[in-house]
């Protein structure tokens, strides 16, 4: 079955209307299985997706398209406890996660 979610592309249009992802380093918090990442990662310089659910991160890793593997990474982590260096990202995305 194809992805049943937003086949109209309304979400994709909205996020690209709000943010220019070109060559940006991006952190997505609460990335789940990576569903949203696939909608902008082609344009980004790098993407790190984090989620506290290990099975979702496993799914995201296994479904990462080959051409994105060099710039998309996933980590099981909670934003409350995660540690990143200051000023590491150009864009942070909160997808239904606060």
């Amino acid at each position: 079955m194809t992805d049943p979610v937003d086949p109209e592309g309304n979400e994709t249009r909205a996020i690209h209307d709000l943010v220019d992802f070109t060559d940006k380093d991006i952190l997505e918090i609460g990335c789940g299985d990576g569903r949203l990442i696939w909608r902008y990662a082609d344009f980004a310089s790098s993407v790190l997706g984090i989620d506290s659910v290990e099975s979702d991160i496993h799914q995201a890793r296994t479904s990462t398209p080959e051409h994105l593997r060099s710039k998309v990474a996933f980590r099981t982590a909670d934003a409350v406890a995660a540690e990143f260096a200051s000023e590491s990202f150009d864009v942070v995305i909160l997808g239904r996660s606060i």
Binding site: E11, A79, V91, I98
Partner: protein, 146 residues
């Protein structure tokens, strides 16, 4: 609030925060029968989530008022999920660990409507608010987080 302040620290100067969350309302469920006839079945009970949404909005307002972020622009869009049948819908809800509640009458009505046609499409329509925030300077004299 604390997570949003941590995000502020992780962002470069001029960096952006993009927040997406549903509008605080109950999404409708509909079926389209044989590609021509739409039937409204009811609404999903998202009462438990709506409290979280109001909490998230309050947290975002707080960090804007405190100077951590500047609210720049927002759009609302329809986020529609399509399913060929009720089982596919319920499996999707399980996979997403959905905490909303679907009245049994909606499930019964959907099964009945979809079983009477050769092709059907069950749709759940959420309105989602997407907001772009720009990293602000932060409040004067605010302590740096570790």
């Amino acid at each position: 609030m604390d997570v949003l302040q941590r995000i502020h620290r992780w962002l470069r100067r001029g960096g952006l925060l993009l927040d997406l969350h549903p509008e605080p309302e109950q999404p409708p469920v509909e079926v389209t029968l044989d590609g021509i006839r739409n039937v409204y079945l009811g609404r999903i009970d998202t009462t438990a989530l709506i409290g979280n949404i109001h909490g998230a909005r309050a947290a975002l307002r707080s960090v804007v008022e405190a100077g951590w972020f500047e609210r720049e622009r927002a759009v609302v869009f329809d986020f529609v999920s399509h399913f060929p049948g009720v089982d596919e819908w319920l499996q999707h809800r399980d996979k997403r660990r959905s905490s909303s509640v679907v009245d049994r009458a909606i499930i019964v009505s959907a099964r009945s409507a979809l079983s009477a046609v050769t092709s059907g499409d069950l749709q759940v329509r959420e309105r989602v608010l997407a907001t772009r925030f720009k990293r602000g300077r932060g409040p004067r004299g605010a302590p740096r987080l570790p």
